[in-house]
Symmetry: C2
Subunit: 120 residues, 2 copies
């Protein structure tokens, strides 16, 4: 089963919007969109992950696994983000081993959330 | 369908651990556990939501809805947290209307995540 890379494409990263210029999140989304998508990963733009203080922000989620939110990340990290999404997809539980996490994803984790479960 | 209130019970909130004294997350978990659980809400302790900088932390999640992470919250907020979990459970999509959100949950949102979806 695949995973989702959520990309917050509306993040201003604390900067004012300039007419005709894409915001930081839009630039990141465009950079990610220009690269090849790893197998098992689906990219989904999202308008606001409510982590504006830490943006630009991405999130990784999928069935039967932890979800993770990361930020700040930028368009310069696009290739690293996609590689990491592939590593996330390859885990059984969403937990990429610490030694395999690039520094960006060790330092810039905003939060994580346990696997979704249905309760009655 | 019910929702889950995840309570990070290992959060030190930046304080050193003191032998024989519960950490901030454990105190919050105990305070929440001492109150009546609203219908449709299941409380789940979790060891670390990786949001230690903003802790103590809780998260709300459930099927077909946005998930939200909040912090810092403390044992003094236990009743408010349970009321808010009930409001979250009563929504169709996890988005509690802004006017119904107590100040704590307006100001102390760490991040949110779209509804889990399975991709192929």
């Amino acid at each position: 089963m695949g995973v989702i890379l959520h990309v917050c494409t509306t993040c201003r990263a604390g900067q004012p919007l300039v007419d005709g210029e894409p915001c930081a999140g839009a630039r990141m989304g465009a950079a990610i969109g220009a690269l090849a998508v790893p197998e098992g990963v689906t990219i989904k733009p999202v308008e606001c992950l409510s982590a504006c203080k830490f943006g630009p922000t991405i999130a990784l989620s999928g069935p039967d696994r932890w979800s993770y939110l990361y930020g700040p990340v930028t368009e310069d990290d696009a290739a690293l983000i996609l590689d990491y999404a592939a590593a996330f997809a390859a885990t059984p539980d969403g937990i990429v081993p610490w030694r395999e996490r690039p520094s960006l994803f060790r330092k810039n984790v905003i939060a994580r959330l346990p696997a979704p479960e249905t309760t009655t």
